[in-house]
């Protein structure tokens, strides 16, 4: 779990109590417990798919009212392609390996599939929890519909045209982003945040990629140790000479060592890689907030200029005044909530890193100690043996 302290509010608790993986989709059972009057019951569940989460997220992003908030990042699409491909390849290669090897590899791949599955569930859950914990977003109507409406929301995935529109919107946004970012802010706080977030986001991106690569090598090494163990097993069963008894002693050691190494890699993935990936998305969401505020500031300044012009020409002054007021209000509203949002972001970030780094260190220690004990035990046997 990436976030902390999100379950303390009894008025609205959301979790994913179950999940089912079908052909190419995952069905999440979203379970809600609430004392709020808005809901018909106090406890209920619905089934949702990934697209519906995305729909909910996008509805937040497109809602002008929420311009001043960090929108919790959408969960990534469940991706079992790689795992499924591996399982398929295994099935094809069944004839070329021994029964033990096949069963072993199948178990491993199934474990891998399960791990990916658990992760995607966790990420979808975190999204919902963040929304439920947010003082304003938790009241959103779409959110309530998402939680309660027990029919399919019929939110088809975006069609081609809509995807194209999105693409262009993003292009414009990034060009705009550069424009807006260039405007120096009068407010020190936001100026600092802008500088900070731009750099931080890039660094998190880099760290995330590098940690992924590191963990992949670790997994490969664990696989090699596993293969070594298998061959040791075969050597041990070939005949009953003294040498073979020797191999037989080594097999369990290497087998266990490989399991530990795999677990180290998995834990690093969970505590480090996932953490970095999550904050990559969150820092992007924070940047988006700054962008929206910047946009509002530019609009406000333009409205000011327009008002001055109108007053100078004494034409459409009322219209310009109204327009300027609207922009002013919008800007101030965003600024106010944005400040709090960014402060909260920092608090959450620090807490999450602390939790995960502590847990990472504890797990690394546990595994190293486990390895050490196995090795020393085996060494004792080998050295004391004739």
């Amino acid at each position: 779990v990436i976030n902390v302290d999100l379950q303390t509010d009894a008025t609205l608790q959301v979790d994913i109590s179950d999940a089912l993986s079908e052909r190419d989709k995952v069905k999440f059972t979203v379970h809600t417990k609430s004392t709020l009057p808005n809901f018909k019951q106090n406890e209920f569940s619905v089934v949702r798919q990934h697209e519906e989460f995305i729909w909910l997220h996008d509805s937040f992003v497109e809602n002008e009212e929420y311009a001043g908030y960090i929108i919790p990042p959408a969960p990534p699409r469940p991706d079992f392609d790689a795992s499924r491909e591996k399982l398929q390849k295994l099935g094809e290669g069944e004839g070329s390996m021994t029964k033990e090897e096949f069963t072993k590899m199948k178990q491993e791949l199934e474990a891998e599939y399960l791990a990916i599955f658990k992760k995607t569930v966790a990420m979808h859950e975190v999204f919902l929890c963040r929304v439920a914990a947010h003082p304003v977003l938790r009241k959103d109507l779409n959110f309530h519909v998402f939680l309660e409406y027990n029919q399919d929301l019929s939110v088809r995935g975006k069609n081609k045209r809509e995807k194209m529109e999105d693409f262009f919107k993003n292009v414009v946004k990034s060009a705009d982003g550069v424009l807006v970012a260039g405007v120096k802010d009068v407010d020190d706080f936001f100026e600092h945040e802008k500088t900070f977030l731009l750099e931080y986001h890039n660094r998190v991106k880099d760290a995330s990629a590098k940690s992924d690569r590191m963990i992949r090598s670790h997994k490969s090494a664990a696989d090699d140790i596993n293969r070594i163990a298998s061959t040791l097993y075969t050597l041990g069963t070939q005949d009953s000479t003294d040498v073979c008894k020797y191999w037989t002693k080594l097999f369990p050691l290497f087998s266990k060592l490989s399991k530990i190494e795999a677990r180290v890699a998995a834990d690093e993935d969970l505590k480090l890689a996932d953490l970095l990936k999550y904050y990559l998305r969150e820092s992007q969401a924070a940047k988006d907030l700054l962008y929206r505020r910047g946009r509002a500031l530019v609009d406000y300044e333009n409205a000011n200029k327009a008002l001055d012009k109108a007053r100078a020409k004494n034409k459409d002054v009322l219209q310009a005044e109204t327009s300027q007021q609207v922009c002013c209000q919008k800007f101030e509203k965003i600024s106010e909530s944005a400040k709090q949002e960014l402060i909260d972001f920092k608090t959450r970030r620090v807490a999450a890193f602390r939790k995960n780094l502590v847990e990472l260190a504890e797990l690394e220690l546990k595994h190293a100690k486990g390895n050490l004990q196995l090795l020393q035990s085996c060494l004792g046997v080998l050295k004391g043996d004739t």
């Binding site: 900070f196 090699d224 061959t231 000479t241 003294d242 002693k249 190293a368 100690k369 050490l372 020393q376």
Partner: protein, 521 residues
């Protein structure tokens, strides 16, 4: 093995110093000590608490470590406390040759340790050589060091210093240093193979040529990979020499002694890959392979049948194991590089983090990861120089063993062919009896009689040869198997110790980091 000298029974323990042996280097005749890689210090054996051995059943007692999936723990038997000074240790310490043992007074009776199965009727002079050692215990240590490039361009080569330290009387001096080049080693092997292979001795194979590797060195590429290549070769040459001299018969071969002692050695030109001799070798190898397929031997000896199969299986599995270990070395190196890269990235992230305590913790994390990347690198070296190279050596050795079995087949084949020839001659002789050419008859009869006599002698010799090679192979195989266990065990122990060290370091690093992480407020 007849030639392995047994140190005096431990009644005379006072004379022999076992201290050095307890450092875990006892059996693998210390080639490892001269390796340049950062050698993990072997843990003090005395400090290995006896409890380690008695932690048994299904793994560690901590609840959170769940290794329950293993149906039966083969360490369950390790409940017996074996203190390192107890008498049970003796068999290891006194087992076979060990350089640390000081030479024994020659008057001690030297009895062969192994029961050889075959009747110990030593007919050939080679057997006598094995027995007669002038009372020398096996005490020799060879180091290959100081690789130095000689010459320039494509004619350049790498020269190595070969230092032999010994107290054995077959050598002229206690310590000799000579310079040799790679082709000298190949030349030595070539000579030994031609002398001993066909009578059934397992001649340790020389390290492999590498055109790519050597070319890099020749053209003066001074990068990490050529340095690694040179070190790999140096280490391999050292192991090769030690294995060769460990063989009681080869040790006394004049070519070996000359190799180790003689300051000048005639250049072994025929070892060049593309030389005439080299090509001839390749042709012969191919011919052999074809012959092997066509010789159908009636194996009357089940032992050979069984052993042959065993070695085939072993060959297959060792190659697989070797491949896996090579892969591990590769991935470990990769892991080291990627960890270093991540460390830098984490440091950058820490720099840009504006919460002070978190920033500091991230920098600490970066430092930890940097240390860990070096750890992985060291471990990869150990993976390679201990485990991988050992396996590579044994894959090549097994090839030598298999070729010895092939030689036996050839010997049998030769004997059978001679027998066939004799039979034919006898038939011819019988035919002659009924021939109608009286004038030429007596001459022909005499000729054939001569030929038959000669062939009879050859057949007898052929049978003797076959019996001898069979006997030799039996001895060689059991010596080989014994050596193999010792070899592997010693190296595996060293390898596991390197793994232990890595884990201990990891624990140190993470224990230092944990409070830093907790301090984030």
């Amino acid at each position: 093995m007849a030639a392995e000298m047994e140190p005096p029974p431990l009644g005379n323990a006072g004379e022999t110093d076992f201290r050095e042996l307890e450092d875990g280097e006892d059996l693998f005749v210390s080639t490892v000590t001269t390796l340049e890689y950062p050698e993990p210090s072997s843990p003090e054996p005395a400090s290995l608490p006896a409890e380690d051995i008695s932690i048994n059943s299904n793994g560690p007692k901590q609840k959170d470590v769940s290794f329950d999936d293993d149906p039966e723990d083969l360490f369950a038997e390790a409940t017996e406390e074996v203190s390192l000074d107890s008498p049970e240790r003796e068999p290891i310490l006194s087992d076979g040759p060990s350089p640390a043992i000081t030479p024994v007074t020659p008057t001690t009776m030297l009895t062969p340790r192994m029961d050889l199965g075959a009747a110990d009727m030593f007919e050939r002079s080679l057997d006598e050589i094995e027995e007669d050692n002038n009372g020398d215990t096996f005490d020799i240590h060879i180091a290959v060091s100081d690789p130095e490039k000689v010459g320039d361009g494509m004619n350049a080569y790498m020269g190595y210093k070969v230092t032999t330290k010994t107290s054995m009387t077959i050598f002229n001096k206690n310590e000799t240093t000579v310079r040799r080049r790679f082709s000298d080693f190949l030349g030595l092997h070539s000579k030994l193979a031609s002398k001993y292979l066909h009578i059934g001795y397992i001649v340790p194979p020389a390290p492999e040529k590498s055109i790519v590797g050597m070319t890099k060195v020749k053209v003066g590429k001074e990068d990490l990979s050529s340095a690694e290549f040179v070190e790999k070769r140096r280490s391999a040459l050292e192991r090769y020499l030690m294995r060769t001299v460990k063989h009681p018969v080869l040790l006394k071969d004049p070519d070996v002694i000359m190799f180790l002692e003689s300051s000048e050695l005639p250049r072994a030109v025929s070892t060049q890959a593309l030389s005439g001799a080299g090509i001839l070798r390749m042709v012969n190898k191919a011919a052999d392979a074809v012959n092997k397929m066509t010789i159908k031997m009636n194996e009357s000896d089940a032992w050979f049948e069984e052993k042959h199969q065993q070695f085939e299986n072993l060959d297959l599995q060792l190659r697989k194991l070797h491949a896996s270990v090579e892969s591990l070395v590769c991935h470990r190196k990769e892991l080291s590089v990627n960890t270093a890269s991540f460390a830098k990235s984490a440091a950058m992230l820490g720099n840009s983090e504006d919460h002070t305590a978190l920033s500091r913790a991230l920098s600490q994390l970066a430092e930890v990861e940097e240390k860990i990347d070096r750890l992985h690198q060291d471990q990869a070296y150990a993976d390679f120089y201990l485990f991988s190279e050992l396996l590579g050596d044994y894959v090549r050795l097994i090839t030598a063993v298999k070729s010895v079995f092939d030689q036996r087949m050839k010997t049998w084949s030769k004997w059978q062919d001679t027998q066939l020839l004799l039979q034919k001659k006898r038939e011819s002789e019988a035919k002659l009896q009924f021939a109608n050419k009286p004038d030429k008859l007596q001459q022909a009869k005499d000729e054939i009689k001569e030929e038959i006599e000669e062939l009879e002698g050859k057949v007898e010799q052929g049978e003797k040869d076959f019996e001898l090679i069979s006997k030799t192979i039996r001895k060689e195989v059991s010596r080989f198997e014994k050596e193999r266990v010792k070899d592997f065990k010693a190296v595996i122990i060293k390898y596991l110790e390197s793994l232990v060290q890595t884990q201990q370091q990891l624990i140190k690093y993470w224990e230092a980091f944990l409070p830093e992480a907790k301090a984030i407020a």
